[in-house]
């Protein structure tokens, strides 16, 4: 399969490609943004309590904890 070299395309080729692509995209069925925002919120709420970067992690449970000094008992 030959690689398409964008530099070789004429302005007309590019314009045609753009129109053909827009014809595909114009047909898309779009959801209401309210529904999409709800889904994003729900997804986040479901996972945020387990999200270490948001909630933090205790020193003992942290696999990346910095090495402590040695304690001689």
């Amino acid at each position: 399969m030959p690689v398409i070299n964008v530099d070789d395309l004429t302005d007309k080729d590019k314009a045609l490609m753009e129109v053909n692509q827009l014809k595909i995209e114009v047909k898309l069925e779009r959801w209401l943004t309210s529904k999409c925002c709800e889904e994003i919120k729900d997804y986040i709420q479901a996972g945020v309590d387990e999200d270490t970067l948001v909630k933090g992690i205790s020193e003992e449970k942290n696999p990346f904890k910095e090495k402590g000094g040695c304690v001689v008992c």
């Binding site: 399969m1 690689v3 398409i4 070299n5 964008v6 530099d7 302005d11 007309k12 590019k14 314009a15 045609l16 490609m17 753009e18 129109v19 692509q21 827009l22 014809k23 595909i24 995209e25 114009v26 898309l28 779009r30 959801w31 209401l32 943004t33 309210s34 529904k35 999409c36 925002c37 709800e38 889904e39 994003i40 919120k41 997804y43 986040i44 709420q45 479901a46 996972g47 945020v48 387990e50 999200d51 270490t52 970067l53 948001v54 992690i57 942290n62 696999p63 990346f64 904890k65 910095e66």
Partner: protein, 340 residues
């Protein structure tokens, strides 16, 4: 000349129809919808580990699926596989070309890949029989630099290039299976959807495109940025896309609404975004900038909630491990840092 004018008019008309269709479904903004949600509060992450060993600028890093190993690429001509917990170097792979711009870890953990100004994507087998890491394949066909690569499996990889195309490769035969053309500027970054059916690309034509891998088609195009898109990633549920641009902003686009839901910007931030990664729940967006910092954004409230300051040069790459336990940053200062 008549034909060009007709095509231009047709394109404008279709774009107007798309703009109108997007407006029709825009019954709320994300900030409005999230108004009742408690703010996340100040996020202060600490450097837990510093991975030292590269001798020049780090351009890319990628976590392995086990959330412990990660690979980094530097223009010192090396790929290093690190154990992020012990900070040991598991492999130090010398490259034929030191002009590397990207690297990737296969989900299986068996392979890594890299590429750059050599226009090629080189695949390395980490699990070869004699223990030596060797080049397994050199995928050559792009006519521009390799900006990004991501494995679908041990047999398929997707690359993005300065030649404005992305390519799906068959690693075993070393040949192109599919060429994804449509961008009118250098492709700078790509990300694969969690279900491996789609990928998104960000380019210097200021747009992001969603591609159906098997149908070999561009499904959607997202505009709005005012400069090159350098970084791109999927929101963890796979239904939204996050982009980072030289216009100093990040944007969140929803795939089903086919439009932008949020822009992450601040008047005090005037430099380009180089890299980004969402936290595992999607609540935080970590983005690396040209001013040596990483800004942490609350994705719902659109506010900056933290800063990771610790590098002495541009943050070129960032990644959150798949279990969400840590974030890794790579910099032109030659160090990687692990934060949580």
């Amino acid at each position: 000349m008549g034909e060009m004018e007709e095509l231009r008019k047709e394109a404008e008309s279709l774009k107007d129809q798309i703009t109108a269709a997007r407006k029709t479904v825009q019954d709320t903004t994300l900030q409005e919808a999230a108004a009742g949600i408690t703010a996340v509060g100040r996020v202060q992450l600490k450097t837990r580990k510093t991975l030292r060993g590269h001798l020049a600028k780090i351009y890319a890093m990628h976590w392995g699926a086990d959330s412990t190993l990660c690979v980094s690429a530097s223009q010192d001509g090396k790929l290093i596989v690190w154990d992020s917990i012990t900070t040991n170097k598991v492999n130090a792979i010398p490259l034929k070309s030191s002009w590397v711009m990207t690297c990737a870890y296969a989900p299986s953990g068996n392979l890594v890949a890299c590429g750059g100004l050599d226009n090629m994507c080189s695949i390395y087998n980490l699990k070869g029989k004699d223990g030596n890491v060797k080049v397994m394949r050199e995928l050559a066909a792009h006519t521009g630099y390799l900006s990004c690569c991501r494995f679908l499996s041990d047999t398929e990889i997707i690359t993005s290039s300065g030649d404005c195309t992305c390519v799906l490769w068959d690693i075993e035969t070393g040949t192109e299976k599919t060429i994804f053309a449509g961008h009118l500027g250098d492709c700078m970054s790509l990300a694969v959807s969690p279900d491996f059916k789609f990928f998104i690309s960000g380019a210097c034509d200021f747009t992001a495109k969603l591609w159906d891998i098997r149908e070999a088609q561009c499904r959607q195009t997202f505009s709005g940025h005012e400069s090159d898109i350098n970084a791109i990633g999927f929101f963890p549920n796979g239904n939204a896309v996050i982009t980072g641009s030289d216009d100093a902003t990040c944007k969140l686009y929803d795939l089903r609404a086919d439009q932008e839901l949020n822009t992450y910007q601040d008047s005090s931030i005037m430099c380009g975004v180089t890299s980004l990664a969402p936290s595992v729940s999607g609540r935080l967006l970590l983005a690396g900038y040209d001013d040596f910092n990483v800004n942490i954004w609350d994705t719902l409230k659109s506010e900056r909630v933290g800063v990771l300051a610790g590098h002495d040069n541009r943050v070129s790459c960032i990644g959150v491990s798949s279990d969400g336990m840590a974030c890794c940053t790579g910099s032109w200062d030659s160090f990687l840092k692990i934060w949580n």
